[in-house]
C-alpha cells in the first residue's frame, strides 16, 4: 500500500471496517455501510466475531460515549449533526470517523473559511466546457454537498461558522427539502437527495459571534458539544497513543516516555482548568490548551530527541516547545506560563526527577 502522511480514516482502519461489515447483522439505515451498533463499536471500541476468531476494535474517541450514540442516531434521522466545541477537542476526528463508518467515505468535505462562496457549497462550472458545450452535466463541477446528495453519503462541512452567514444559509433549502435546484440545467437541474445523505458540520466555540448561524439553519441541526478531556489519566493515554501513531507514521523508532507524557498532560490539564491538583488557582492562558496541541508538543519533543540523537525526550526541550504552543495569541500568556511553573515548582518538586528536571527548565521561558 502506498504511504501517506495522513491516510483517510476508511483507509487507515480498513481492516476494522471490513471486519465489522462482515459480522454486522444489525439493521442499517438505507445506504449505510454499517448498522448504528457497528458504527458505535467502530468509534468506541469493542470486539467482533469473525470466522478467524475475535477481532479487537480499537477505541478511537474518548470522553463522552453518549455523545457518540446521539450523533449516530442524529445522522440516521432527518436532521444534520453539528459538532461544536473548543478547538482541539477531536470534533473533526469524530466527524471523519462517523463519515467513514456510515458511508465509507470521510473525504467529502467543504472547508469553511471567510472566503467560502455559495459555488463551493453547491456547484460550480468548468468554464472551458461551459463555453464550448453550454450548461450541461458534463460542464458542472459538483460540490461535496451535491456529491453527497447524489451518492447518498455524508457531506462534511468543517468550521461552518468561519463562513459568512448568508453563505451558510444556502444549506437551508437543501436540508429542509433535500433538493438542490440547478436552474442552468433546465428540467434536468433538479437533484433529489438519495437516502443516506446528511451533513456533519463542525464549529469552533472560539469563533462564536464571528458568523453566528441563523435560527433557521440551527433548527435543521442537532447540536452536540464536544468537551475537552477532563480526566488527566485519559489525556495522558491519548497523548501516548496519538504520539505513538505519529511516530510510527514518521518512521521514528523511539519508545514513548510515559513520564514525559504525564508532565504534559498534567500541565495542559491544570492550565486549562485554571487550578492545580492541590487546588491552587492558576491563571488560564488565552491560548487553546487542547489535547491535540499537547500531542503536537509531545511529538515535536520526540522528533527533536530522535533526529538529534538523544535517548529520550528531554523535558527542557518540552518546555521550549510549550512556549511555541502556549504563547500564540497573547503576550501575557508567557507570564502565565512562568507563574504556573513557579506554582508547580512548590507543589511538584518532590514528585520525581522528571518533574524536577522539567520545572528546573523554567529559565527557558523567555
Amino acid at each position: 500500500m502506498e504511504r501517506y502522511i495522513k491516510p483517510p480514516v476508511e483507509v487507515r482502519y480498513a481492516d476494522e471496517l471490513a471486519a465489522l461489515a462482515a459480522s454486522d447483522t444489525g439493521k442499517r439505515p438505507e445506504n449505510w455501510k454499517l448498522s448504528p451498533l457497528a458504527v458505535r463499536t467502530f468509534i468506541l471500541g469493542g470486539s467482533v466475531k469473525t470466522p478467524s476468531g475475535r477481532i479487537k476494535i480499537s477505541r478511537k474517541f474518548y470522553g463522552n460515549d453518549a455523545l457518540v450514540e446521539r450523533s449516530i442516531i442524529t445522522l440516521a434521522g432527518s436532521r444534520g449533526l453539528m459538532l461544536v466545541g473548543e478547538p482541539g477537542t477531536a470534533k473533526t476526528m469524530l466527524s471523519e470517523l462517523l463519515s467513514a463508518a456510515c458511508c465509507g467515505v470521510s473525504t467529502n468535505t467543504v472547508q469553511g473559511t471567510a472566503g467560502t462562496t455559495e459555488d463551493m457549497i453547491k456547484y460550480s462550472w468548468n468554464y472551458a466546457l461551459l463555453l464550448s458545450k453550454g450548461p450541461s452535466r458534463e460542464a458542472l463541477v459538483p460540490s461535496p454537498l451535491l456529491i453527497g446528495m447524489e451518492r447518498g453519503i455524508f457531506a462534511r462541512f468543517e468550521e461552518i461558522t468561519r463562513t459568512p452567514a448568508e453563505i451558510q444559509d444556502s444549506l437551508i433549502s437543501v436540508m429542509s427539502d433535500q433538493i438542490l435546484n440547478i436552474p442552468e440545467l433546465g428540467d434536468e437541474g433538479l437533484v433529489l437527495a438519495r437516502p443516506g445523505f446528511n451533513i456533519i458540520g463542525t464549529a469552533n466555540t472560539r469563533d462564536k459571534g464571528v458568523n453566528e448561524m441563523s435560527g433557521a439553519l440551527k433548527r435543521r441541526f442537532n447540536f452536540e458539544t464536544v468537551e475537552p478531556v477532563r480526566d488527566v489519566k485519559l489525556e495522558k493515554e491519548i497523548i501516548v497513543r496519538e504520539a505513538e501513531d505519529m511516530a510510527k507514521a514518521g518512521h521514528i523508532d523511539m519508545p514513548v516516555d510515559t513520564d514525559v507524557a504525564e508532565l504534559l498532560a498534567v500541565t495542559y490539564h491544570e492550565l486549562r482548568e485554571g487550578r492545580t491538583a492541590d487546588g491552587t488557582v492558576v491563571e488560564k492562558p488565552a491560548a487553546v490548551m487542547s489535547t491535540a496541541e499537547a500531542v503536537s508538543v509531545y511529538f515535536q519533543t520526540v522528533s527533536h530527541a530522535w533526529y538529534y540523537g538523544a535517548s529520550r525526550p528531554d523535558p527542557a526541550v518540552l518546555t521550549e516547545n510549550l512556549i511555541g504552543a502556549v504563547c500564540k495569541e497573547n503576550k501575557d500568556d508567557l507570564e502565565k506560563l512562568r507563574a504556573y511553573f513557579r506554582t508547580a515548582s512548590k507543589e511538584k518538586s518532590k514528585a520525581g526527577a522528571v518533574w524536577k528536571e522539567y520545572l528546573g527548565s523554567s529559565k527557558l521561558l523567555k
Binding site: P36, R70, G77, S78, R219, T225
Partner: protein, 779 residues
C-alpha cells in the same frame, strides 16, 4: 428463596424503594403466591398507621414521620432529638404490598425495629445517624462497592441509575416474576458480599436483621405462606438468619411515650428525589411514579416507559415555550425519534429517562451546551422530579395542627398542595382577608415551619419599613413544614393555640425586658393578644435591671400601642407596660450620668424617647422625668454627651436651663485642652436633644466658634467625628443659617465657609505639576 410454589413457606421479595418494576412484579408475585401475611421492612412503631396510608382518600406522596427525643441519653450524651421520614409513592413496592394486603384481606406488618431502637443501635455518623440522613428508605447500599462499577463498565452505561433503569426497570418488566426475583436476588447477593462487616454492625444492620428475623420466625408459627418485602440488601442476610433457626431478638429499651412517635404526613416528590440530598430512593420520582400509574391504568407494561417519556417530552416542550425557548413541533418529533433510536442502539426495550434527557440535549439545545443554554434540560429534570405534594385522607391519625394548617390554607386560599414557590400579597389595612393572611403566615413563620418567607413588608421587630402597608410573601409547602407542625403537636390543636403556647414558652424563658417585648411584637403581628401574658411581661420588666433592655422594651411596647388600632389589635396591655418601663427607667436614670463613653448614645436615645412619651401618652409623668434629669445634671461625675442631652431636655421644662447649658459650655471652653475636647461631646448631646438652642438669643454660636477655633489642629481632628455628629442633627436650613452666622463672625460669606474658595482648574493643574516637579527634583 424465589419459588412461588404454595409449598414454599417463606418467600423473600427484595426491593428497591420507589421502583415501579419492583411494584409491578411484587403485585404479580402476590397474585401467584397468595401469601397468608405480608411482612414489610419498616419501623414497627408505625404499624397502626397502615390503614391511614392505604385509605381511599390518601393521595401520595405521603410519609410516616418518626421522631425520638433522646432525653434518657440512650443514643448519646448530647440528648438530641431525632426524626426521619419513611416516604411512600405510588411506585413504592412497600405501599403496593400494603395495598395488596388490604385488598386480599390478609394482614400486613412492619417488622423493623422501632425508630428509637434504630437510633440507639446505630453508631454516630453511620446509617440513619448520618447528618444528612432523614429518609428511612435507603438504597445507597445497592449503589456502593465495586460490583456496580464493574457492571457499568461492562455494560457501557454512565452510572448505576442508568444501569438500573436499563436492566431492572425496563428489562425487568419483561421477565416472569420468578425470573425477576432471581435477577434481584443475584444482584443483591453480590452487593451484600461486598459489604464491610464492621459497617454492618456500626449502622445497625445486624441488630435490625436479628429483630426482623425473629419477627418472621414468630409470624411463621401462625401463618403458612409468609411473604417478606425488604430492601434488597437485607434479603440474603435475613434468609440465613431465619434458616439458622436460632435467632435471638435484641432487647428493646423502655422509652417514655412522649419521647417517641410516628405520624402520617404529606410528602413531596421533590423530597423523595434521590438527588435532593438524602441519597436514597430513586432519581426523578415523578417520572417513575407516572410509569407505574400507566402500568396500573392500562393493565400492561407495554409502552409504559415510551408513553411516559413522550408525555414528559411534550410537557418539557411546553415549559420551554413558556420561557420563550425554541421548542417547536419539529424539535419534539426529532427528540422522539432520537429517544427511540437511542433506546434501540443501546438495547433498552423502551425509552427511559436517560434516553429522554439525551434526546432533549441533542435536539432542544441550539448551540454550545453551557449552563445558560441547558435550560431545557433543567426544565425536563424539574418535571421528572415532580412538584406535587400528597394528602392524608384519614385525618384521625393526622396531628390536629396539620389539619388546622390545611383548613386555614383552604379558607385563606393559600395553595399548599405544591412545592412550587408561590407568592401572596396582603394589604394589611385594606381588607380583613389581607390581615388574616398576614397573621396566618406570620404564625407559620413563628412556628419555624419554613413554609413562608416575608419578602417585603414592615419589620416591627427590627423597626424597619414601618410605613409599608402591604406585605409580600413567598411560600411553599415541603415535608419539613409538616415535620415542624408535628413537632409542635403538643403545643395546641390549632395554629393559633400552638403559637400562643410557643410564645408563652419563649416568654417564660426570657430574662430581659427587651427580648420579652420582641416576643410581644411577634404576638402582635400574629394577632395573638398578650393580655394573658401580662403578668409574665410585668415580671420580666420589673426584674430587669438593665437600663438599655428596659429602654428597648419600652420602644417595642410603644410601637404596639401606637399601631394597635391600625392593625385591629384588640389588646390594651401595651400602655400599662410602657408605664411600667417608664417607672423603671426614671428610677435608674440618675445613675446613668457617668456612663462609659460607648454607652452614651444608647442612653441618650432612651432619654429622648422618655421625653417624647411625656409629650404624648405619659403627659402626666413629665414631672418625674424633670426630677430625674435634674438629679442627673447635679451628679458629681458626668459623661459630657449624656450631660449635654440632659441639659437639652431640661430646657423643655425650664427655660433657665438655656443659660445653664451656655455656662456649661463655657466651662468646657475654659478648661485644659482635654476638657476642651469634651466640649465637642457635650455639644453632640446637647444638640441631639435641643438643637434650637443654637438659634436663640445667646452666645452659643460664638462659644461654639471659640471652642472649634481654640483647638490645635491635632485636637480638632480628634474631636471632628463628635462635632460632625453634633451638627448632623441640624436640618439643611439650620446648617445654612448657622454657616451664615458663623461667616459674620469671621467677616466672610456662608458659601465660602460651606463650600470653600473656588479654585481655577488651570491653576490647580499648574500647582499639581509644580508639586510633582519639585518632588522629582528633591528625590
Amino acid at each position: 428463596m424465589s419459588s412461588l410454589s404454595g409449598e414454599n413457606r417463606l418467600l423473600f421479595f427484595p426491593v428497591r424503594h420507589h421502583s415501579p418494576v419492583c411494584s409491578y412484579q411484587l403485585t404479580r408475585v402476590i397474585e401467584k403466591y397468595r401469601p397468608d401475611i405480608i411482612l414489610i421492612e419498616g419501623p414497627s412503631d408505625a404499624e397502626e398507621l397502615i390503614p391511614v396510608l392505604t385509605h381511599e382518600e390518601t393521595r401520595l406522596p405521603a410519609a410516616v414521620y418518626y421522631f425520638y427525643k433522646d432525653k434518657k441519653k440512650l443514643v448519646s450524651e448530647e440528648a438530641e432529638d431525632y426524626k426521619c421520614y419513611y416516604p411512600f409513592l405510588n411506585s413504592s413496592p412497600e405501599y403496593n404490598a400494603l395495598l395488596a394486603a388490604k385488598h386480599t384481606g390478609i394482614p400486613a406488618r412492619f417488622i423493623d425495629l422501632p425508630y428509637y431502637e434504630l437510633m440507639i443501635n446505630t453508631s454516630e455518623k453511620s446509617g440513619l445517624r448520618r447528618a444528612e440522613k432523614q429518609d428511612y428508605a435507603d438504597d445507597t447500599r445497592l449503589t456502593q462497592g465495586d460490583v456496580y462499577r464493574a457492571l457499568c463498565g461492562r455494560t457501557s452505561v454512565r452510572g448505576f441509575e442508568e444501569f438500573w433503569e436499563k436492566y431492572f426497570e425496563i428489562g425487568g418488566l419483561r421477565l416472569s416474576p420468578e425470573g425477576f426475583l432471581r435477577q434481584m436476588h443475584t444482584y443483591c447477593l453480590m452487593t451484600r458480599e461486598n459489604a464491610d462487616p464492621e459497617e454492618l454492625e456500626a449502622d445497625g444492620t445486624n441488630v435490625r436483621e436479628r429483630f426482623m428475623a425473629a419477627r418472621i420466625t414468630e409470624e411463621m408459627k401462625s401463618h403458612w405462606r409468609v411473604l417478606v418485602v425488604t430492601g434488597g440488601f437485607h434479603s440474603s442476610g435475613l434468609y440465613e438468619l431465619v434458616m439458622s433457626g436460632d435467632v435471638k431478638p435484641p432487647k428493646l429499651h423502655t422509652v417514655p411515650a412522649d419521647c417517641k412517635g410516628a405520624f402520617p404526613a404529606a410528602y413531596s416528590y421533590e423530597a423523595a428525589d434521590a438527588l435532593h440530598g438524602y441519597a436514597s430512593g430513586m432519581n426523578y420520582p415523578y417520572f417513575y411514579d407516572s410509569v407505574y400509574r400507566r402500568i396500573c391504568e392500562s393493565g400492561s407494561h407495554e409502552g409504559a416507559f415510551d408513553g411516559t417519556a413522550l408525555d414528559l417530552l411534550v410537557r418539557t416542550a411546553k415549559a420551554c415555550a413558556k420561557k420563550d425557548l425554541p421548542a417547536a413541533l419539529p424539535d419534539v418529533t426529532a427528540a422522539l425519534s432520537m429517544m427511540r433510536g437511542l433506546a434501540a442502539l443501546r438495547g433498552v426495550g423502551e425509552s427511559g429517562i436517560y434516553e429522554l434527557i439525551d434526546a432533549v440535549t441533542s435536539t432542544f439545545i441550539k448551540g454550545e451546551k453551557t449552563l445558560s443554554s441547558s435550560l431545557p434540560i433543567d426544565l425536563l429534570k424539574k418535571l421528572a422530579v415532580g412538584e406535587g405534594v400528597g394528602h392524608i385522607g384519614d385525618k384521625s391519625r393526622v396531628p390536629p395542627l396539620i389539619t388546622d394548617f390545611e383548613e386555614q390554607c383552604k379558607k385563606l386560599r393559600i395553595d399548599c398542595d405544591t412545592v412550587t414557590p408561590k407568592t401572596a400579597e396582603c394589604g394589611l389595612f385594606t381588607s380583613a382577608k389581607g390581615l388574616a393572611v398576614s397573621r396566618f403566615l406570620h404564625r407559620c413563620r413563628y412556628l419555624g415551619t419554613g413554609f413562608c418567607k416575608l419578602q417585603k413588608g414592615a419589620d416591627l421587630r427590627e423597626n424597619r419599613d414601618r410605613s409599608r402597608v402591604r406585605e409580600e410573601w413567598t411560600y411553599r409547602r415541603t415535608p419539613s413544614t409538616d415535620a415542624a407542625l408535628i413537632d409542635h403537636t403538643a403545643d395546641g390543636f390549632t395554629i393559633e393555640e400552638a403559637c400562643r403556647t410557643a410564645a408563652h414558652k419563649t416568654l417564660a424563658g426570657e430574662r430581659r425586658c427587651e427580648e420579652a417585648a420582641k416576643t410581644a411584637v411577634d404576638c402582635f403581628v400574629m394577632g395573638i393578644p398578650i393580655s394573658d401574658e401580662r403578668q409574665l411581661l410585668t415580671e420580666r420588666t420589673a426584674a430587669d435591671g438593665d437600663f438599655f433592655s428596659v429602654g428597648g422594651g419600652m420602644r417595642y411596647f410603644e410601637t404596639l400601642h401606637r399601631l394597635r388600632e391600625l392593625y385591629g389589635y384588640e389588646d390594651e396591655s401595651a400602655e400599662e407596660l410602657i408605664g411600667l418601663c417608664f417607672s423603671k427607667l426614671i428610677a435608674m436614670l440618675p445613675t446613668m450620668a457617668n456612663l462609659p463613653k460607648e454607652a452614651a448614645d444608647g442612653c441618650i436615645k432612651v432619654m429622648k424617647h422618655m421625653s417624647a412619651l411625656t409629650d404624648s401618652i405619659l403627659r402626666s409623668r413629665a414631672g418625674e422625668l424633670e426630677t430625674a434629669l435634674r438629679l442627673m445634671v447635679s451628679a458629681p461625675d458626668r459623661q459630657p454627651a449624656v450631660y449635654g442631652a440632659a441639659m437639652g431636655l431640661l430646657c423643655r421644662f425650664d427655660d433657665s436651663f438655656r443659660v445653664e447649658a451656655e455656662r456649661a459650655l463655657g466651662g468646657y471652653l475654659r478648661g485644659a485642652p482635654e476638657v476642651m475636647k469634651q466640649g465637642a461631646e457635650y455639644l453632640k448631646g446637647l444638640f441631639s436633644a435641643a438643637r434650637d438652642i443654637m438659634f436663640g438669643e445667646n452666645d452659643f454660636l460664638r462659644m461654639t466658634d471659640e471652642l472649634i477655633t481654640g483647638m490645635s489642629g491635632e485636637d480638632f481632628t480628634e474631636v471632628l467625628p463628635q462635632l460632625r455628629l453634633a451638627f448632623g442633627y441640624f436640618t439643611p436650613q439650620e446648617t445654612s443659617a448657622t454657616a451664615k452666622a458663623a461667616a459674620a463672625l469671621h467677616d466672610t460669606t456662608a458659601s465660602e465657609i460651606r463650600f470653600g474658595r473656588v479654585i481655577d482648574e488651570g491653576l490647580y493643574a499648574f500647582g499639581k505639576r509644580l508639586d510633582e516637579e519639585i518632588a522629582e527634583e528633591m528625590t
